[in-house]
């Protein structure tokens, strides 16, 4: 029997039960659509992260207290207090880290920000003027506070565009007083809308001198992290090594396993972010796989029903000369055609979902989300659909092929 006819027969078989066929492939459609959507959205997320990290600058090195976090439980290390003023001084010493361009400590200050008694969403961090160069970010209105302000524990703040909008609208900003943890800070500068940088939403930041934050707001002597910059991209690794050596010496550590700090370069962070999205993707993919499995069982179920319903047809075909393998092929092609149709619809649905998601994400969240259509995922989706048809179609098809023609012809 020629393939074209097998194909035509299978198509006819499916057309006979249009709504049943449509419902049957729903599981496959959803499964394949999930694969496409997960792959596309995952890719978009990864692109977004990569681009944000690029904002960090390829020369940037982040020094954080505690051991390198290896899992969720290690996030407790955020609260460690191993990075202090003496480390800052040691690192600033050109003899220790000759390739260091500049560095700035950073302190996250929890607590509300208020203006005229009204509290708004904002994140306060304490840092130094060097941060403006590291982030390549300068106020468009007013100025950034100076090193003197840092030395003098000044109550000054530079705010992001959203903070400005929420508190002051279009009104005057400069020299207004906002309250952070019940202390008055004078606004000296405003950033224009800048989006994400350094994993922070700059637009929602309130930046104050780290010295002020330490002494008057938190009463601590350690930093959340230190952000450093190497003189060039090529010297990042050397700088990182020198920083590690300097800090070990300053902390009296001889065994690297006992490090009470860790450093991250842009490359490290990118890798880690990639790992996280990969794990998420894998988790979601396993859900998609379950959908495909259930879909496959549905296909098998409906094919078994179809084989039983068409017992007489099978008997007739055998009587007029169909060999068992002709019958096998007929039902197998039918099953594969079902799942491939499901796969095709799934690819389209998945692409549609990802496109909508990209639209919504870039509109609503106002981030530069890029829609990508993962061709490889589409091919994988179709291949998986094909395989599901083959795997779950073979049993019903064999059952059909094995039918005794006499019994089949007598079947009522």
């Amino acid at each position: 029997m020629i393939f074209k006819y097998t194909f035509k027969t299978a198509l006819n078989g499916l057309r006979t039960n249009k709504s049943r066929s449509a419902l049957t492939i729903l599981g496959i459609v959803i499964g394949v659509a999930s694969i496409i959507a997960i792959e596309s959205i995952g890719e978009g997320a990864q692109l977004l992260i990569v681009r944000q990290l690029e904002g960090l600058g390829s020369q940037t090195i982040v020094i954080q207290p505690g051991r390198e976090p290896k899992g969720l439980s290690d996030f407790a290390s955020l609260f460690l207090d191993s990075l202090k003023e003496k480390d800052l001084l040691a690192l600033k010493n050109k003899n220790n880290v000759p390739t260091l361009l500049d560095l700035s400590p950073e302190i996250i200050v929890p607590g509300s920000v208020t203006y005229l008694g009204e509290s708004k969403d904002a994140l306060t961090i304490g840092t130094s003027p060097a941060m403006t160069q590291i982030l390549d970010l300068y106020p468009t209105e007013g100025v950034f506070f100076s090193d003197e302000d840092v030395a003098n524990y000044s109550y000054v703040a530079v705010i992001g565009s959203k903070v400005k909008e929420k508190f002051f609208g279009d009104g005057d900003v400069l020299n207004q007083k906002i309250k952070i943890r019940n202390r008055n800070f004078r606004v000296v500068g405003v950033f224009s809308s800048a989006g994400q940088a350094m994993m922070f939403d700059v637009d929602s930041l309130v930046i104050i001198p780290y010295t002020t934050a330490q002494r008057y707001l938190l009463g601590t002597d350690h930093y959340t992290e230190i952000v450093a910059r190497a003189v060039s991209k090529e010297t990042v690794d050397q700088t990182a090594r020198d920083i590690v050596a300097t800090l070990r010496e300053a902390h009296g550590i001889t065994d690297p396993a006992k490090d009470d700090f860790h450093i991250q370069t842009q490359e490290d962070i990118q890798q880690r972010a990639g790992m996280i999205t990969d794990i998420l993707k894998m988790l979601l993919m396993s859900v998609a796989a379950i959908s495909l499995l259930v879909g496959g069982i549905g296909i098998m179920n409906i094919m078994l029903v179809s084989v039983t319903e068409r017992t007489r047809e099978i008997g007739l075909r055998k009587a007029i000369g169909a060999r068992s393998k002709d019958i096998l092929w007929q039902f197998l092609v039918e099953a594969v055609l079902l799942t491939l149709t499901g796969g095709g619809l799934g690819v389209m649905l998945g692409a549609g979902i990802s496109f909508m998601a990209a639209l919504v994400l870039s509109r609503l969240v106002a981030i530069g989300w890029v829609f990508t259509f993962p061709l490889s995922a589409a091919l994988v989706g179709l291949a998986v659909a094909f395989l599901v048809g083959l795997v779950f179609g073979i049993y019903p098809a064999r059952k059909a092929a094995k039918k005794d023609p006499i019994e089949a012809l007598r079947y009522e």
Binding site: K4, E313, L316, A319, I320, G321, A322
Partner: protein, 229 residues
């Protein structure tokens, strides 16, 4: 050499501890071009005999030769090929595919043959013309009458130009008048086109179209006589 030769043919069904002897030693032969009716009350074994003759079933013992070869000479696959090329089947219930046209129904045996696709239409239309329903070729079975449906089934049996056509109670689902019209077609196919026809029926007037009647009773041949009309 006869087209069909049967010697001491026996068929016994075993169901758990029950043994049912359906055919108990049949011997006869059928020549090319004959029109034979196999008659008998229900349970006499006539359907079983037809299945064995049509290579759909194997005998328990005895010998069945078709064109001097026995069923044991063929694999299942070769038997399928033989049924396709040399045998045509007409069933009581027509067994047409419901949602495809008469033309496509008649084409079906060609799909399993080695005949090239470009000839399919012509061969099918020829067969449909032979049974006189050319004007129904593009209708589906549900759009035509029972008599026409059975004619379509005969066209399907004819399309491969087989050595022998097996008809299992072909008029069983038709009214008397239509049944007789159908028998006229079979008769013409036998007399004018030389097709060998083996017919199963339990109706005397239907059997009377045949030139020879084999009467079965309890798995044995009760009588085997040529008709002179």
């Amino acid at each position: 050499m006869s087209l069909i030769e049967v010697k001491n043919l026996e068929k016994t069904y075993f169901t758990s501890d029950l043994k049912t002897e359906v055919l108990r030693g049949l011997s006869f032969s059928i020549e090319k071009g004959e029109f034979v009716a196999i008659m008998g009350p229900s349970g006499s074994g006539k359907s079983t005999l037809l299945h064995i003759l049509g290579f759909l079933d194997r005998p328990t013992s005895g010998e069945y030769r078709f064109e001097s070869k026995t069923i044991n000479d063929y694999s299942d696959e070769a038997l399928a090929g033989l049924r396709n090329a040399k045998m045509g089947f007409v069933f009581q219930a027509f067994n047409l595919l419901p949602r495809v046209s008469v033309l496509d129904n008649v084409k079906m045996p060609l799909f399993y043959s080695g005949i090239k696709e470009s000839d399919w239409n012509e061969l099918s239309l020829q067969a449909i013309n032979q049974v006189g329903i050319l004007n129904r070729a593009n209708f589906t079975p549900s759009q035509i009458s029972g008599g026409e449906q059975q004619r379509a089934a005969i066209a399907r049996a004819l399309v491969m130009k087989p050595q022998v056509i097996f008809a299992d109670e072909p008029t069983g689902n038709l009214d008397t008048k239509t049944g007789h019209q159908l028998m006229e077609i079979l008769k013409t196919l036998n007399e004018e086109n030389g097709h060998t026809i083996i017919l199963i029926t339990h109706e005397q007037d239907i059997a009377s179209y045949a030139k020879r009647i084999i009467l079965l009773r309890d798995g044995r041949i009760e009588s085997d006589r040529k008709m002179t009309n």
